[in-house]
Amino acid sequence: MSSRIIISTEINGEPAEFLSDERDSLLEALRDRLGLMGTKEGCNNGNCGACAVLLDGRLVNACLVMAAEVEGSQVTTVEGLAEQDRLIPVQETFLERGALQCGICTPGFLVAAHALLQEHPRPTEEQVRYWLAGNLCRCTGYDKIITAVLDAAERADAPSG
């Protein structure tokens, strides 16, 4: 029989200790135990990327991680991307470019794009398309998303004033 376990971790920069079921996925723990509803459940089998989060800085699908595995780790969800009320560039460019319609895939795309720009600050379009291949969007046709990510890369690059 599975049992309740206490998991100590750090979520979006804050220490977090929560009670979870041993059989919970990280996705279930985030949404059902911690009320962090930004991370979406799409396919629940690793194909769609709607539940993308960063685990110790690395892009993963939260549906393919057991909650028990994140003991002692750092998790970043879409809620942790903005600094206070200030959106990060890729969040701004998604809004400006209208890179979303229904919005279910958007948190996953934002987290994945953020991870991409951390690792490749000036990606080519091909790199962006490969990197985001694990995120599915059934509304936009992707072009606006790709453009928003490329725009964000340029913006982050430009001297701030």
Binding site: D24, R58, L64, V65, A68, E69, E126, Y130, G134
Partner: protein, 295 residues
């Protein structure tokens, strides 16, 4: 999710004990990209996950000069293609590591998990076989080594006995004037399961091919070493004729099925095409030319 327990092992002995105590429904958790889905969708009965990522040997990555590569069974793909030594000495592994799933899958998925899941279409398996890799297995009876070529025995089946698990993969150091290449055909560019995949390796001596291995995946119950292709290549310089003979041998050897990913006819054709392409690229790598894994 089915009712299951989770345990994290910190040593090989502890994992072996947990697996033995857990019985036949205990399952190793490495990257989890297959087993978590199997547990959730109840395609496999799992009552205990034994997480091996806390075992140093299982998350190892050592590519000492001339001594071969030791790859922890749970070492994730992103760490493999992020490693300069693996990238320069074992590019055929990078070919596979950089196209298994998408970025988020590569953040977790491992060659050990790919091997133990034992899918006929596993992308990690043909390059391991072409490079002559072995699996280091630990269990109640101690350690043993099994060549990756003999590890998988059928779809979803392998040589692991109850309580045993793969700790690491051992890949011999590449010989001088050798090269290997892995390619996969899928209808899109990424995030799909192979219709057919092929890994080939070649070693030259004085312009002649002295060793050759062609491995075709997703075209038989297990990844298939095409012995006749090797025989068609060894003993002469690589030529259009010998490449064509190897491709014909691959087409003859495969025993594919019809399914939603491809027909028997298409898979047979692809086995030949990918054999030719991987052999040309393997020869380029053997000459020291750069062949990029994918864009």
């Amino acid at each position: 999710m089915q009712d299951l327990r989770y345990a994290r092992a910190s040593s090989v002995a502890e994992a072996a004990r947990l697996l033995a105590d857990g019985g036949p429904t205990a399952r190793v958790l490495a990257g989890g990209t297959d087993v978590i889905v199997q547990a959730r969708e109840r395609t496999r009965q799992i009552t205990l996950f034994v997480d091996i990522k806390g075992i140093p040997e299982a998350v190892d990555l050592r590519a000492a000069n001339g001594e071969g590569l030791t790859l922890g069974a749970a070492t994730p793909c992103h760490q493999i293609y992020g490693d300069a030594a693996v990238t320069s000495s074992y590019p055929a592994l990078i070919d596979a590591a950089s196209l298994i799933g998408g970025t988020a899958i590569q953040g977790r998925a491992s060659f050990g998990g790919n091997l133990c899941n034992s899918s006929p279409a596993a992308d990690g398996v043909p390059p391991l076989i072409a490079l002559g890799a072995s699996a280091l297995i630990a269990g109640p009876g101690g350690e043993r080594r099994v060549p990756v070529a003999r590890f998988t025995t059928g779809p979803g089946q392998n040589v692991l006995e109850e309580g045993e698990f793969v700790v690491a993969l051992e890949v011999p150091a590449p010989a001088p004037a050798s090269g290997a290449r892995f390619l996969r055909f899928i209808p899109r560019n990424e995030m799909d399961i192979a219709v057919v995949n092929v890994a080939s390796s070649l070693r030259f001596d004085g312009g002649e091919v002295v060793e050759a291995c062609v491995v075709v995946g997703a075209a038989a119950p297990t990844a298939l070493v095409v012995e006749a292709a090797g025989e068609a290549l060894v003993g002469s310089p690589l030529s259009e004729e010998s490449i064509a003979a190897a491709a014909a041998a691959a087409r003859d050897a495969v025993r594919p099925i019809d399914d939603m990913r491809g027909s028997i006819r298409q898979r047979r054709h692809l086995a030949g095409v990918l054999t030719e392409r991987t052999l040309r690229d393997a020869a380029r790598r053997a000459r020291g030319e750069e062949v990029v894994s994918h864009p």
